[in-house]
């Protein structure tokens, strides 16, 4: 899917993606010449179709995780299906989790928790963040466009 600014005859470029949480998706595109911005709004069924392909409009923000689609999308997963691990062993460079952040992470279903934890840890490591707090989690969610995490 591409968008063309008809007045300028230029392909519009992806700007931003938003997931309002109601199953819909909004993505904005901008004409590189005149600056005109337009929004693509998908209904829940269309959004689901994109999700089911395992692709992300605007490009991937985090590396593909093992069984990512299954863990994000299956609602009848066993809570103890996966061993709770953070991925690579926590070493001296592993960020510290504040108690509030741990509590919030604990509310994530275990079926997907290991994957979510790994994404937050990677986010913190890449930015040199030593402590993961709820504010850091919010930043990661917003910056990485994490749906339902």
């Amino acid at each position: 899917m591409k968008f063309l600014c008809v007045d300028c005859d230029r392909q519009m470029t992806f700007e931003e993606r938003a997931l309002p949480g109601d199953g819909t998706l909004a993505a904005t595109f901008k004409c590189p010449k005149c600056g005109r911005v337009m929004a693509l709004l998908t209904n829940p069924m269309e959004t689901q179709l994109v999700s089911s392909l395992g692709v992300e409009i605007g490009g991937r923000t985090v590396p593909a995780q093992p069984l990512e689609t299954v863990r994000k999308m299956v609602t009848t997963g066993r809570d103890d299906a996966f061993e709770e691990t953070a991925g690579r062993p926590d070493g001296p460079t592993a960020p510290f989790w504040s108690s509030e952040a741990q509590e919030r992470l604990g509310r994530v279903p275990n079926f997907v928790r290991g994957m979510v934890k790994r994404i937050y840890v990677d986010y913190a490591r890449e930015r040199g963040i030593s402590e993961i707090t709820p504010a850091i989690m919010d930043s990661a969610r917003s910056e990485l466009g994490l749906e339902g995490m």
């Binding site: 992806f14 069924m45 089911s52 992300e56 409009i57 093992p66 689609t69």
Partner: protein, 262 residues
């Protein structure tokens, strides 16, 4: 009347696309190919007919092969009715989740396995997040994604053979061909009856048309209630061997003999 628009077509727009959806799909395919690089052979166990014992045959052949020292994996591609873990007597366990790929469950004989049954709540159907109406539009794509992840996100390691236990019908086989980028070898399971033969014939023809090599036919549930010559008929028609005729109460030797012919 306004003048007609003269706009460039999709393929005429060649500027970089940040979404890069084709690239993302390409990356998925590479992930699968890399993960399966150590798998010498992939065999889809299929049938156009339900209830003929595909999973039963798959599990017992896998165990027999593993007992001879072969490295064997089983991917339970029947996402909605997974039975392989029970047939392999897999203990209730947790899937290890290291970075990069999950670790498959391993049977007492050493068969590596992934199945939706290992992930779902006991007795729960496979349900996905998403709009409740018109789920038929996206559910198939979601199941195909699960199949792709079972292939590409499980640390299969080096295998002599990876058996894929497919559900009845052709849909999962076609998805498999698309994900693998080529048609896998096919082992066909039937029961002796003419009804099974007719359904299996369609599946075998479709598999041939997609380029699969027909490894052979297994006739299951031979004797007692079911009568007919399905395997012999299909063997003649498709010029492929009948590898085994499995009685109602097979012995371990039955499975060993079948394994040796694969």
């Amino acid at each position: 009347m306004p003048p007609p628009l003269h706009i460039r077509t999709y393929h005429e727009l060649t500027e970089a696309d940040r979404s890069g959806l084709p690239d993302q799909i390409g990356a998925q395919r590479r992930r699968v190919a890399e993960r399966l690089a150590g798998v010498k052979r992939i065999v889809a166990v299929m049938s156009g007919k339900g209830g003929v014992g595909k999973s039963y045959v798959t599990a017992h052949v896998a165990r027999a092969l593993a007992r001879t020292g072969r490295a064997v994996g089983v991917l339970d591609a029947d996402l909605n009715g997974p039975t392989i873990p029970r047939l392999l007597s897999l203990p209730a366990l947790q899937i290890r989740d290291p970075e990069g790929a999950v670790t498959p469950a391993v049977s007492a004989e050493g068969v590596r396995c992934i199945s939706m049954a290992l992930l779902l709540e006991d007795g729960a159907p496979l349900e996905f997040k998403g709009p409740s109406t018109e789920s038929f539009v996206w559910r198939g794509a979601m199941e195909a994604a699960a199949l792709r992840e079972f292939l590409g996100d499980v640390a299969w390691g080096t295998l002599d053979i990876l058996l894929l236990d497919l559900p009845p019908g052709m849909q999962r086989y076609l998805e498999l061909c698309d994900i693998l980028g080529s048609a896998p070898d096919v082992l066909t399971v039937t029961i002796p009856t003419p009804e099974s033969r007719d359904a299996v014939r369609r599946a075998m023809r479709a598999a041939l048309e997609r380029g699969s090599h027909l490894v052979g036919i297994v006739e299951n549930m031979v004797g007692q209630e079911f009568s007919g010559t399905a395997a012999a008929d299909l063997s003649r028609e498709f010029d492929t061997p009948v590898l085994a005729r499995i009685p109602w109460h097979p012995t371990p030797d039955t499975w060993s003999a079948l394994g040796s012919r694969l």
